[in-house]
């Protein structure tokens, strides 16, 4: 078991710098998810922790050791790859035993450890099959089995579920989580899927363009996104962002939107009039209210449990999510009320959150 500490880590390929000095720490036994759009550097960071990519600058510690110059095998880690990377010419048993054989464990020990891992993952019946004879979900489990046989201090996952179909993905999500609880090991998990991040992580690290945008528990990040990028990246459908300028009217701050409309702002904002800002409203914080603003429905997407509605208030396009099946018809006018008390405000220049 071990903490992972990342300090000022930089990665460059020749002149191109892809990680611009990243610092983060993962405590022992924690499940941390690195999430961000493709090209944000999350996989590169994971591969640097694994030892598959060199560290251009900064330090990575696992346990109490700086591992910068250690080979992957010396780092006490295991990794599950997006493609699973199962050795095609070896049986499931041989795949799982490979690392133990290299570590020169005794035959008996290997047998024991492989069987234990197979039992945990429900693979016992498949041990003598080859990877090509397995389904996607089974291969995924073998990949995890290969990781857990060695009982490493840190597990690294690189988008392990992205090759599975939607239903299996949800199931495996639960299995990985259960595995974490059972083993209590430190796990670092990379994904581009914010839903996976929210449901699996004890903590989430949101990255963009080689920089960490925010770290925190899923709900912290959801409730108080540090900037407009995190706000729009986390949550589905995405947060509505309305561009405008802060105005003072009757001792109250309001948003003068770029399209001319006026929107209320949360109270006690620490912002001066005249500042260019974005007002962020989550789709589920828009309510139906006959006393609210007149709106026109443009697209209606029922998901069964909820209904997603693209609507227009004045000239502003918004997305709303309503429970069940609201009585809304296309191109007809209805009324909505954004819950301003739960809205977010971001500086339009820096993108940073403006708090109370």
């Amino acid at each position: 078991m071990a903490n992972v500490t990342i300090t000022d880590v930089v990665k460059n390929y020749g002149q191109l710098e892809v990680l611009h000095g990243v610092s983060a720490s993962v405590t022992d036994g924690e499940f941390v998810v690195l999430v961000g759009p493709s090209g944000c550097g999350k996989s590169t960071l994971l591969r640097m922790i694994a030892g598959l990519e060199s560290i251009s600058d900064g330090d990575i510690e696992i346990g109490d050791r700086v591992v910068n110059d250690l080979e992957p095998k010396e780092r006490d880690i295991a990794m599950v790859f997006q493609s699973y990377a199962l050795y095609p010419h070896m049986t499931v048993r041989a795949n799982m035993a490979f690392s133990l054989k290299l570590a020169r464990r005794s035959k008996q020990e290997i047998e024991q450890m492989v069987n234990r891992a197979a039992e945990i993952l429900d693979l016992s019946a498949l041990l003598d099959r080859y990877p090509r004879q397995l389904s996607g979900g089974q291969r995924q489990r073998v990949a995890m089995g290969r990781a857990i046989v060695r009982n490493p201090a840190v597990f690294l996952f690189d988008e392990p579920l992205s090759n599975l179909d939607a239903k299996l993905r949800v199931q495996m999500r639960g299995e990985i989580k259960a595995l974490h609880q059972r083993l209590g090991a430190t796990m670092i998990y990379v994904t581009h899927d914010q839903m996976e991040a929210m449901t699996m992580g004890d903590r989430i690290v949101v990255m963009r363009a080689g920089v960490i945008e925010q770290m925190g528990t899923p709900l912290e990040i959801y409730d108080t996104p540090a900037n407009s990028f995190v706000a729009s990246f986390i949550g589905s459908p995405s947060m509505n962002l309305i561009d405008g300028v802060v105005h003072s009217a009757n001792n109250q701050l309001v948003l003068q939107a770029d399209d001319g409309a006026t929107w209320p702002l949360p109270s006690h904002l620490n912002v001066k009039a005249g500042t260019a800002v974005q007002l962020g409203i989550r789709p589920e914080h828009i309510y139906l209210d006959p006393a609210g603003l007149p709106a026109e429905a443009i697209i209606i997407e029922p998901t069964g449990a909820d209904t997603h509605v693209q609507l227009r208030v004045g000239k502003q396009l918004l997305t709303g999510v309503f429970r069940d099946r609201p009585d809304i018809s296309l191109n007809a006018t209805f009324h909505v009320r954004p819950d301003v008390s739960r809205a977010h405000v971001f500086d339009r220049v820096s993108g940073k959150r403006i708090g109370a």
């Binding site: 611009h20 610092s23 560290i55 251009s56």
Partner: protein
Amino acid sequence: MAVVERTAAQRVVTRTRKSRPERGEGRTAFFFLLPSLIGVTLFLVVPIIASVVLSFTNWKLLGQPQFVGFANYIKLFTADPQFWPVVRNTLFFTFEYLVLNIIISLGLAVWISSLKLGQRWFRVIFFLPTFTPGIAVAIVWMLIFAPGGFFDFVTGSLAIHLPNLLTDQKLAMQAVIIVSLWAGVGYNTVLFNAALDMVPASYLEAARIDGASAWDRFWKIRLPLISPTLFFGTVMTAITSLQVFDQIYVMTRGGPGSATATLGYSIFQKGFQNFQMGYASSIAWVMFAMIMALTAFQFWLQRKWVHYDN
């Protein structure tokens, strides 16, 4: 939990240090390459350089080599009475063999591809000589061409009056070409047949619907589509045929007279019968120049007949 945010502009890369794993990789690469590097240096690079140097000396294996400048080359081009006939023989062989090889192998390839059954067995039959020693092939054919042998028997039975091929100044080269063709058409047959197999059937069906005859479909569709492969086969065949040696060594030893002496045979003769290592090396470089020139010529020519998709 500390979040450090920095932008690319703010940060200047101070050091690009090499980590231990990266340095280890270079060392591993060195050891992995070492056997190959030693072999390539000793048996490829050094010989290439030595060959150039030798060609400017008069070394005869025994005694001290002397630097003679371009004397070998000057002697070759102006004084050696055997040199020009040898060049002529080599070009004659290459030209006739190349043309016949391409025509025959293309014909066989097209013929095989027209079959509904047993394509692969026909391919194997024509390919067999490719995998057998050229020397054994030449010896068998020598028996066929021997005076009073099978070939003479057939021409005699058909009342064709031919002198014996191997002992006739004019016909000996034809015998060498027949043997070379028998041994050499198989590879190109399979090559062209494979290329024909890769022509999408939809092209031919479309042409058929457009009303193209079988003749047109061959000349206007299949042939242009496999022309890159034809070009490849022609270049490779030309390169090997300029080096022809085995058949000539067995069947004629360059004779009768010097009717079948080629550059390859000359290198052997000068180098390992007369031990004129320097002189033989200069012949080798003339051969290399001819190979390069012929290849360059073919690349120049290809613009006129080779059709590339893109």
